[in-house]
Symmetry: C2
Subunit: 204 residues, 2 copies
Amino acid sequence: MISTEDILAIQKRSEVTHSQILEAALNCFSKYGYDASGVAEICEASRVSKGGFYHHFPSKQAVFLCLMHDWLDGLETTLSVIAKESGTVPEAFTKMVEMTQEIFTSASGKIPMFLEFWIQARRDPIVWEATVEPYKHYQSIFANLINRGIQEGTLQTVDPENGARIIVAFAVGLLLQGALEPDATNWTGVAGEGIQMLVKGMKK
Amino acid sequence: MISTEDILAIQKRSEVTHSQILEAALNCFSKYGYDASGVAEICEASRVSKGGFYHHFPSKQAVFLCLMHDWLDGLETTLSVIAKESGTVPEAFTKMVEMTQEIFTSASGKIPMFLEFWIQARRDPIVWEATVEPYKHYQSIFANLINRGIQEGTLQTVDPENGARIIVAFAVGLLLQGALEPDATNWTGVAGEGIQMLVKGMKK
């Protein structure tokens, strides 16, 4: 009979393997690109057998989607919490600015993979769907926030959807620039100035 | 003896070949990616012989750099002219907004290649240099413009370098979003609103 301890040990090992695959895949995609990184390379880098890999993921694409999802999901949760817990909308944006350091740090290694994702999204409808979906979540968080700002009277009447697209565009563009020239400037500071500028631009 | 007419005809044919290679390379890079597009594919797509190709370009990378340079150069010239010919700085930005339609149209087919470029830039120091260089030009155009705005008293005291990075980030992010969801909204309209928002954020 298998003991509870055994089951827990098996579960634990399975989780470790899952993380190993994700970590190795992230490295491979970032270094060699999505197309050049096969399941074989990911298995070698993670020291997991092909059987082990396919036990956890049906395909390379599934690993890719999982990586993207994990990152975007964590960010979304943080933003949602800030949006809900802040007093006025300008205050919520100020809190988000304070968070940019964290976002930059967590994003810095993932940008090349993020770019690969974008490229694949234009070629593969499944990846496209998976890329556009989280985007829409982000946009709706910001659109709701802007809407609330208009309601509470702190923001002028801007189109909330467009305002949200503008904020997301700024964030994406800044992450890309930061990836290209990480040491060129204090990117967190630039992020803060930019958001303040945009908020001032939306204020009454 | 070769007549002037003959020389002109040869020059003309050479220019046509040059353009054919560039056009075919743009298609290949956009469709299959930089890594998957070899000189052989570009030659086939452009109906130019390998000898013809190497007469015009020393390498695939050279074609890539030429494409990027041509596009960024055209844009830079337009922006510089606007910057110089406008009255106040907020007026210059308004004129740039009117130009966004043109920028979006000229950029739309090039975004996938642009992303490839970015990815290659992280792997190849020559591409990196060629990517960062035009960036610095754009940044200096905007930094000068912001500086002028501060001097003439229309803009508040923001750090011109950071302000420029913010504007460039916004533009890049918007182009990327537009590439992902071209029909999601009127991107030219969003670009206009965003620039107005940023200018208002910088105004005194």
